[in-house]
């Protein structure tokens, strides 16, 4: 029997039957839904980022126009006297979606991807007004192509292949098949390969189409290495599950036992172990209290206001180059706001550092715990490849705070001295740009986990093959 005959036979007896066909079509439809959903989520972010840049640019154009008028015409300019204040400069900042941002929603729907950077806002309120997504939808979790592969692909492999051997056994045909001298081992692997190929073909067809047509303005060349990595991971994940199915099916038990065992393994790897690990990680590495952080910030804010004169004097001593404009028309509250916010940022920096340190410790421990489930390995990798993991968002927020801090160093002397920011200085100010990590760091983070997945999948397949070799027919010499 040739391979094409086998395919035709499998199609007629299993995959092309209503149940098989419906399962495959449902899987394909889910993949398409996931791909479109991921694209829509990414496009919404892109639109929000574009609007954000436009709004800040428009506000800054206005700032520059007024500042120039004041520089040229002085009090005759007819613009508010505080125009040109360094405190009023706002920078746009955004975390653009990764090249493959449409392949996993990850944490991008819950963590901030943009924010105006202004010295009017202390760090504690830098990203505080963005929480509008439906919390129930967030709690239930969105669907993207990655999640479909993660949750549904193994399920379909199980449903289509659990009886790869037990179908013969349950219908009492196994003995007959063996007696006829059919190569059971070859039959088993060919069947599994064909059924797996159908499932994988659907997944890769939809994923490749999404890769080609959902670019979101990113060139295919830029997307290609990420897609290749995504595809390799999805393939490995599927091979792992094929290994699990082969491992269980080759035990030569009844279909009922196989399907229950496989389903429990699926629920364990995709739902129970991740949930258990999350609970453990949250208990061992609890995030520091945001409420305590806020209380600390408010305490510092209040103290600074009460000691403003001393703080301002200290600032002037620390900046001897500064020429205080005694006749400044910029209102006093501008200086107060700057000093208060700067002090609050300094006072709460150790708390923010503690958040980051705890998150890193937790990530490091989770990096070890991911070996307990291939779904965790794949989930982390899919999010990382798509650039929607929390670590990238945290890097963005840290970069935004650092950028604001650098600007504070530059703007502080002007604000405290009651001077305006010269327009030529404004023009020379840098813009915020998120520095992406290279593709190589992605590989460095995950090669170990992928190697582990390869080894486990290979072991499962080898054990299954050995078991198959040991199934003896009535014509075998050592059969009982």
């Amino acid at each position: 029997m040739t391979f094409s005959h086998m395919i035709s036979h499998e199609w007629k007896t299993r995959l092309g039957r209503p149940a098989g066909l419906v399962s495959l079509l449902f899987f394909a439809a889910l993949l398409v839904f996931g791909a479109v959903s991921g694209r829509m989520e990414r496009d919404t972010r892109l639109e929000a980022i574009a609007t954000h840049h436009e709004q800040i640019a428009s506000a800054m154009d206005n700032w520059l126009k007024n500042a120039r008028l004041l520089e040229e015409k002085g009090s005759e300019a007819g613009v508010p006297p505080w125009s040109g204040s360094a405190l009023d400069v706002t920078f746009s900042s955004a975390l653009p979606p990764g090249p493959l941002g449409d392949f996993a929603i990850g944490q991008s729907d819950i963590l901030p991807s943009l924010g105006g950077l202004s010295l009017w806002s202390p760090d504690v309120r830098l990203f505080s007004k963005y929480e509008f997504e439906d919390p129930v939808a967030l709690a239930l979790g969105g669907i993207d192509i990655g999640k479909v592969v993660l949750l549904v692909l193994p399920l379909l492999l199980i449903v289509l292949s659990f009886d790869i051997l037990s179908a013969e056994r349950d219908t009492k045909r196994l003995g007959l098949t063996l007696a006829q001298g059919a190569p059971l081992r070859a039959l088993f692997w060919r069947r599994l390969l064909i059924r797996g190929l159908f499932v994988l073909s659907a997944a890769f067809l939809v994923a490749f189409t999404a890769f080609l047509f959902q670019t979101g303005g990113v060139s295919l060349a830029e997307r290609l290495p990420y897609f290749a990595f995504w595809g390799f991971t999805a393939l490995l994940y599927a091979v792992f599950w094929i290994g699990i199915v082969a491992f269980v099916a080759s035990r030569n038990r009844g279909g009922e036992v196989n399907v229950i065992l496989l389903l429990i393994v699926w629920a364990g790897f995709t739902l129970i172990v991740p949930a258990g690990i999350t609970a453990v990680a949250e208990s061992v590495y609890p995030a520091p209290s945001r409420l305590a952080y806020l209380a600390e910030a408010r305490e510092a804010e209040n103290e600074t206001r009460l000691q403003e004169a001393d703080i301002a004097n200290q600032f002037i001593i620390d900046h001897p180059e500064m020429l205080v404009n005694e006749s400044s028309e910029i209102p006093a509250f501008v200086r107060t706001a700057f000093l208060v916010n700067s002090t609050v940022d300094e006072a709460t920096k150790p708390l923010l550092d503690a958040f980051e340190a705890e998150a890193q410790r937790r990530d490091a421990s989770l990096a070890w715990m991911r070996f307990l489930s291939p779904a965790i390995i794949t989930h982390a990798l899919f999010n990382d490849v798509a650039g929607t993991d929390s670590a990238r968002h945290r890097r963005y927020m840290q970069a935004a705070r650092d950028f604001k801090s650098a600007y504070r160093e530059k703007a502080g002397p002007y604000v405290v001295a009651g001077q305006r920011l010269p327009t030529e200085e404004f023009a020379a100010l840098p813009t915020f740009k998120f520095e992406e990590e290279g593709f190589d760091s992605l590989l460095r983070r995950h090669w170990g986990a992928l190697a582990f997945l390869i080894i486990v999948a290979a072991l499962l397949l080898l054990v299954a093959d050995r078991r198959l070799k040991n199934i003896k027919g009535p014509n075998d010499e050592d059969s009982g």
């Binding site: 889910l30 007004k129 929480e131 939808a137 239930l140 009886d163």
Partner: protein, 476 residues
């Protein structure tokens, strides 16, 4: 007769290692869920209480200060975590814990616990409610798939019927035997959760927890009955036990794991909530457009309203013009009154979008009762969006009180001083602290009434289908 059938079924389950295994797994996960839920609840309640105390202390220590400056400093309204969140945290990890009550702006709640949680949390939930809603159907399917199919294959169903057992009694006995296990697990888990909730650090009303727990038990019982009936329906309709098992497990994966996520995603795309940039730019645009000219009758009416409220008597336009007032204070309060409408409308629109999304999910529930149970469970636990909206509305009322008091002090006591006016340090003690009374049971019941009814309908229809299938199956 029925009790004999139940006893026989239970003996078989006890002997079946798979059923015992899943039950043990379920018990273990519920225990872990209870421990982590309890630790999260007590820690969050302790933090919220401490933060509210610190906030009060900081606010009182402001010294002499301009009231408007103090209104910008504002107060914080900390949301207490409902005691039954130990059972079902619902949407609370995805809702902010604190609202900044400041002048000029109605802010959303900030600091969602989920933002600090590991990414993995999005893949699976280990709350007690999450475990029950996920694994009770699996347990019931594993117990119930062979109810009719296995007995038919073995020929024992034919034997039982021909020896005089009424099919109706067989059906009832098997249904009760299977459903009782799922419902029993849920009732035990809810009871233990309720006891833990009653001993939460924050003061709680025991009767409220008790009634909510009874409501939760009803909800989970309906859920259990619906899935048991589905198991019996499939078992009666399929040729072999293996086919029944395969169909049921596929149904479980789809209706409990996949469909709720699809429903959430589709609802979000069909009724999108605005992103923050759009929300704020549109709200401020509305505010700018709705601000009347200072000489307009509308503006003067707002001035009269503000002043009449402050003085406790009606005032005329002439009096407003002639009075010795801090005009900056008056203008600040007038803008608060006018802007409040625009903020109210913007948030109403936002919550309307949430409600539309909820209705959309309800529409999906025709394929999955898990969606309905999610609404019922979080609604009764007080961890749903409706409960959060209640908190946000109470916080907004408090914001209005605080800002109004500050503006009125500046307006009436700071005549001619504009922003140079400073209030005494004793003044801050006259600002009331935020005391939140969580939503009542009747409010919670109203918000989940439809989901409850639909869940009951699901159970009723599934029972009817199961009975029809059982009656029409080929026994001989």
């Amino acid at each position: 007769m029925i009790s004999a059938i139940i006893a026989k079924e239970w003996t078989e389950y006890r002997r079946d290692g798979r059923v015992v295994g899943v039950l043990l797994l379920l018990a273990l996960l519920v225990a872990v869920g209870l421990v982590t839920g309890w630790s999260g609840l007590s820690e969050q309640q302790r933090q919220a209480q401490a933060a509210q105390r610190d906030d009060q202390a900081t606010f009182l220590k402001q010294g002499e200060k301009n009231p408007h400056s103090a209104a910008h400093f504002g107060r914080m309204a900390y949301k207490p975590l409902p005691p039954l969140s130990v059972f079902d945290p619902g949407a609370s990890p995805y809702l902010g814990q604190v609202i900044w009550l400041e002048a000029h702006a109605q802010d959303p709640a900030m600091f969602r616990p989920a933002e600090d949680a590991p990414d993995l949390r999005r893949l699976a939930d280990l709350s007690v409610a999450g475990v029950l809603s996920l694994l009770i159907p699996l347990l019931l399917f594993l117990i119930g798939y062979g109810t009719f199919a296995s007995e038919r294959e073995r020929g024992t169903l034919r034997q039982a019927v021909s020896s005089g057992s009424a099919l109706q009694k067989l059906f009832t006995g098997k249904l009760l035997a299977v459903a009782a296990i799922g419902i029993g697990v849920a009732v035990i888990a809810i009871t233990v959760s309720a006891v833990m909730a009653m001993s939460a650090p924050a003061g709680v009303l025991w009767s409220d927890i008790l009634f909510r727990s009874v409501g939760l038990m009803f909800g989970y019982a309906l859920y259990g009955v619906a899935f048991t009936a589905l198991a019996l329906f499939v078992s009666a309709r399929t040729k072999t036990a293996t086919s029944a098992l395969l169909v049921l497990l596929s149904l479980w994966a789809l209706s409990v794991v996949v469909l709720p996520r699809i429903a959430a995603t589709a609802s979000e795309h069909l009724y999108p909530t605005p992103d923050s940039e759009t929300f704020w730019s549109e709200t401020y645009q509305t505010i700018r457009e709705s601000r009347p000219d200072r000489d307009s009758a509308e503006y003067k009416a707002a001035e009269r309203l503000v002043l009449s409220r402050a003085l406790g008597r009606e005032v005329t336009d002439e009096e407003v013009a002639a009075m010795e007032l801090n005009r900056s204070g008056l203008s600040l309060e007038v803008s608060e009154v006018i802007d409040a409408n625009a903020f109210g409308a913007a948030y109403d629109q936002l919550y309307e979008a949430y409600e539309q999304q909820q209705e959309m999910r309800r529409a999906f529930s025709i394929l999955s009762p898990a969606i309905l149970l999610h609404h019922v469970s979080s609604g009764l636990a007080g961890t749903d969006t409706a409960s959060h909206r209640h908190f946000a509305m109470e916080a907004e009322k408090q914001r209005n009180v605080i800002v109004r008091k500050m503006n009125e002090d500046m307006m009436l006591n700071g005549a001619g001083e504009s922003f140079a006016y400073l209030a005494d340090e004793d003044f801050w003690e006259s600002i009331p602290d935020f005391r939140y009374q969580p939503v009542s049971l009747s409010y919670a019941l109203r918000s989940v009434l439809w989901d409850f009814l639909l869940l009951a309908l699901w159970a009723a229809v599934a029972l009817w289908l199961a009975w029809r299938a059982a009656r029409s199956q080929k026994i001989i």
